[in-house]
Amino acid sequence: MELFLQQLLDGLATGALYGALALSVVLVYRASGIVNFAQGEMAMFAAFLTWQAHTWGVPLVLAIGLSMLIAFAFGAGVERVLIRPFGTTAAAHLSLIIVTLGLMLVLTSGAGWTWGYLTKQVPPVFGEGVVDVGASAMSRQALGIILAVAVMSVLLYFLFQKTRLGLDMRAAASNPESARLSGIPVGRMLMLGWGLAGAIGALVGALAAPQLFLQPNMMAAMLLYAFAAATLGGFDSPVGALIGGLLVGVLENMAGTYIDIIGNDFKQAVALIIIMAVLLFKPEGLFGSRTVARV
């Protein structure tokens, strides 16, 4: 039982990160209708920026804030420069996916070229040490990750549900043509969506770096888990992405602990199995919209 609880808590902490990265994948998907394969690498690059600023003497929290700002601007810029020219029709999706794959390669080699491929130690944002949680213990960092993702989620919920800007962003994602006809500058909303996704990714990168060790391929596996989380939650549902992330984190941890042949080294198979199972049996995911439309 104690082992189970411990695995559950650990799973929730990694799951929060999967969920947050899945959230940025989902924000881009809702805005542009495509999966951004470079989302993880954008987060990795931002994590390097955080590390760089920190080694130059900027306090860690401030460094994360700065890199989130830069990642926001970069995400918005990617939408404007690399994505928008192809248009938003379904016909452009294949080209766009290739573009994001290209961006992924550029970012990986760019980070390697700038900072090298040796792993770098990143200090945990929330410090060392553990906190007792009932009979189990949790590292301060793990608890901090869960809290940080929770705060971010609440802020985003507030943005999307309670503000005019959030309403406009949702409108632009839901029906771009009607949004334009209502006077909403859809292009700007798409840039905002990509920017937010970039900033969330930067936070994920900074929070994950201490565990994963900072190096250019750091986020590759995590992106797969994020895809599993987004698929499980429903690709167009931000809430689903977060909950999907937590579920994937816990499932993956449990499978690694209790199923011998999976163990610690083969955990990625869990992500693939989740993706396959959801797509086969419940393609819209747990919270995705199977849009009911009457005519």
């Binding site: 029906n175 009607s178 006809l181 006077g183 909403i184 005519v295």
Partner: protein, 235 residues
């Protein structure tokens, strides 16, 4: 009476395919103008060109201001509201959210404005927290009209509002449109296949055939035209 919308020599289409050829028309301030035409005549293309969804060549001016070439959101900001074919509601958002989106350009009190539309279309008020996609066709059309009128536009473009609606619902809708026009003075350009009802509330009418304007006049003149009577009114 002064002219609100003036279209001269408008050409528009999709890629290399030209659908509209040399179309000219006017809509006076506060008037309802009706464009009749069969499927594929170019009615939808005409509205899409006027609201900037597709590109058009020629002139289309609102109070003397050229609309062609402006992006949709700018045209909307100038006071042109377009209810597209298929209604263009935000299906996965609630009725109330749809109306709030419609208020993007309005400067007035959003709550009061929305309340006003719930009075005009009580069924929308009953369903304010429902997803727009779950409404019936008639309710969706009401929502689309209310959303388009939220900012108090000067010109409302309506693309086949009767499409897919039961005859009773269509009659109610046109009655509402007529009342709204009388009360608010919002000019309307309605394209329709359902000529009867449209001509009832229209003061001028035009006939579009294969992308060209083949006749135009007062609604009464078109009603009396034998060809139109046979083709579109069925008697």
């Amino acid at each position: 009476m002064s002219t609100l919308l003036e279209v001269q020599g408008l050409h528009a289409g999709y890629g290399p395919v030209e659908v509209l050829r040399d179309v000219s028309l006017t809509v006076e301030q506060g008037q309802v103008a009706v464009v009749l035409g069969a499927n594929g005549a170019g009615k939808t293309t005409l509205l899409r060109a006027l609201s900037g969804i597709i590109k058009g060549r020629g002139r289309a001016t609102l109070d003397g201001r050229q609309l062609l070439g402006l992006p949709s959101e700018r045209i909307a900001a100038l006071g042109v509201s377009h209810v597209p074919q298929g209604r263009g509601t935000f299906a996965n958002m609630t009725v109330e959210e749809n109306l709030r989106i419609g208020a993007h350009l309005s400067r007035g009190d959003e709550k009061a404005e929305i309340g006003k539309w719930y009075e005009i279309f009580p069924r929308l008020g009953d369903r304010r927290t429902q997803q727009a996609g779950s409404l019936s066709g008639g309710e969706q059309q009401m929502l689309a009209v209310a959303r388009a009128l939220m900012p108090g536009p000067r010109l409302l473009l309506l693309d086949e509002p009767s499409l897919g609606l039961a005859p009773n619902t269509t009659r109610d809708l046109f009655a509402s449109l007529g009342r709204i026009n009388a009360e608010t003075g919002t000019a309307m350009l309605i394209v329709e296949q359902n000529a009867h009802l449209a001509l009832d509330i229209g003061s001028t009418a035009m006939l579009l055939e294969a992308g060209r304007m083949v006749s135009s006049g007062t609604a009464q003149e078109l009603r009396d035209n034998d060809d139109i009577r046979r083709a579109y009114l069925g008697y």
